[in-house]
């Protein structure tokens, strides 16, 4: 994510200042002029930055019928990458018992939260690893798809040129 853009609430300049001396438009022009000058002077700066926790940065590639296994397992991985531990506590008949029921319910609730606390800590770490791996897989598959499309185009071009050669030879 490099130049993320907020849904523009105005069609106006991307910088907003309320000042008696400089307008927003003038400020935009000034900082962009300086940035262009700086780039010319110092060279361009790499703005190809990653973003935290965003598998969606690389949308899940859509499958093609030619490689069913790859896309089946990739889809599975994308679907189950973040197991959510829902802290729902099922009701128990014992909690309906007068007086003791409330105490029992409270103890159960506290125990439940304690377990969730530790489980979620571990789950979060594992999720992060899963997501990093799936991000890599998604991006690799997208790269493969692009390369495959280029290879197909080149093959077509080779066939076309070969055909032309054969016709010329005849």
């Amino acid at each position: 994510m490099n130049e993320s853009e907020l849904s523009p609430q105005t069609n106006g300049p991307w910088l907003e200042i309320h000042d008696d001396v400089i307008t927003s438009d003038e400020l935009v022009k000034e900082v962009e002029r300086r940035a262009a000058h700086r780039r010319a002077e110092l060279g361009s700066v790499s703005l190809d930055f990653p973003a935290f926790g965003h598998v969606s940065t690389y949308p899940e590639p859509t499958g093609d019928a030619g490689n069913a296994y790859l896309f089946y397992y990739l889809k599975q991985a994308n679907q189950f990458s973040s197991p959510v531990v829902e802290p729902d506590l099922a009701s128990s008949p014992a909690t309906q018992t007068p007086v003791l029921g409330r105490l029992w319910s409270r103890i159960r609730g506290e125990m439940h939260n304690l377990v969730l606390f530790y489980v979620n800590r571990s789950v979060r770490e594992q999720n992060q690893l899963n997501l990093n791996l799936i991000s890599v897989l998604n991006e690799m598959v997208r790269t493969i798809q692009t390369q495959q499309a280029e290879i197909d185009d080149l093959r077509g071009e080779v066939r076309r040129l070969t055909g032309e050669d054969e016709q010329t030879a005849r």
Binding site: L6, W14, I17, E32, F52, H54, L131
Partner: protein, 356 residues
């Protein structure tokens, strides 16, 4: 209303937390008005024992008709309140959308979704829904609340007009131009984008230093931000200060040259007005309630164009006249969030429901 009881209820209470601070301020106002008023919290930090009571100790008195509930995340508190015979004033501080945590923190995402669903069960019990910004009020209206109003966050100036931590101030003075952001280290706050900006700024100002003050709240995010800074070659220009005392926070603001926010979700943005009050120029991404909080002060941006933003900061560091005009405008803006005015608004809200 002498003798009447009006308690406040929070999901969590901690020192330095914006919601807890507001509740403490409201309690003072309520007590000044003659109400018997306490704060009850479901979870509370040990340091809050003197000021806040655990919810488990709450007993509704027979004459108690009203309660104030501060809502910001899903918890057991709404269920506990709606099953009592209480008419509620809801103070809505906004819920960070679950999408920000979906991929990294399933429990946090779940609690955010739960909090949104709980607005449904709170609605029939709520007589008046107060939002800390117009942005939040619009969310309440979309959730079906009919009687809503804006009750902004109040800045208690006595907590900011305090002596600095001289030792910290001396240490900070040794670093280069200082950029500051205050907020929990969380994906919605986008501290990572500040590191990217630092990367561009250091081409112009090699000594520039970014201070991130805030709780390392989201597991792994702090490490990720540090790692990114390392990869971009700016690790030496980054300090993750963690959660700090009020005195240290004031020292950081006083020592900084520019407050910069890349946050993509703020229901209000308390550090923006803290910086405005303490005379620090604010440059902020205009997301969610940020433009409303900033008003006509500071500088807002709507696109994260890192190189031109680095030039803007360079300009703010060099142009004293521009800097002074921004600070002056910010000082005027922050008056809207100071006690005399906000307290009057609060009393007017109580009058709307016949409590004053």
């Amino acid at each position: 209303m002498k003798g009447a009881t009006l308690h406040q209820f929070l999901t969590g209470a901690a020192a330095g937390d914006a919601i807890t601070d507001q509740a403490l301020l409201m309690r003072r106002w309520l007590r000044d008005l003659g109400f018997g008023s306490e704060i009850y919290a479901w979870h509370m930090h040990r340091g809050m024992v003197a000021d806040v009571r655990p919810m488990a100790t709450y007993r509704q008195s027979s004459s108690e008709e009203w309660g104030i509930y501060h809502h910001s995340i899903g918890s057991e508190m709404p269920d506990s309140l709606v099953h009592r015979d209480l008419r509620l004033i809801l103070v809505y501080h906004n819920i960070t959308p679950p999408e920000f945590f979906e991929n990294s923190d399933p429990l946090r995402a779940h609690l955010a979704r739960l909090g949104m669903r709980q607005l449904e069960i709170l609605r029939p019990r709520t007589e008046l829904a107060l939002a800390v910004s117009g942005y939040n009020e619009a969310e309440l209206q979309r959730a079906g609340f009919e009687r809503t109003a804006v009750q902004p966050i109040c800045l208690p100036v006595e907590r900011y007009d305090i002596p600095l931590n001289e030792r910290l101030a001396a240490g900070l003075a040794r670093s280069g131009p200082r950029l500051l952001f205050i907020g929990r280290l969380a994906p919605n706050k986008r501290q990572e984008d500040l590191v990217k900006l630092l990367h561009c700024l250091r081409r112009l100002r090699p000594e520039a230093h970014l201070y991130l003050v805030g709780d390392p709240w989201e597991v792994g995010y702090d490490r990720w931000v540090e790692q990114l800074a390392g990869e971009l070659g700016v690790r030496s220009g980054l300090t993750l200060a963690g959660k700090v005392s009020q005195q240290d926070m004031v020292t950081y603001i006083r020592a900084a040259d520019v407050y910069i926010s890349m946050s993509e979700h703020e229901g209000f943005g308390v550090p923006l007005i803290e910086s405005m009050y303490l005379g620090l120029p604010v440059v902020a991404y205009g997301a969610a309630a940020v433009p409303e909080t900033m008003g006509d002060a500071g500088v807002l941006f709507y696109r994260k164009k890192y190189e031109p933003l680095a030039e803007l900061i360079d300009l703010l560091l060099a142009d004293d006249a521009l800097r002074s005009r921004i600070i002056e405008k910010q000082r005027a803006r922050v008056q809207a969030f100071l006690e005399p005015q906000v307290r009057r608004q609060f009393i007017a809200q109580l009058a709307k429901v016949g409590l004053f």
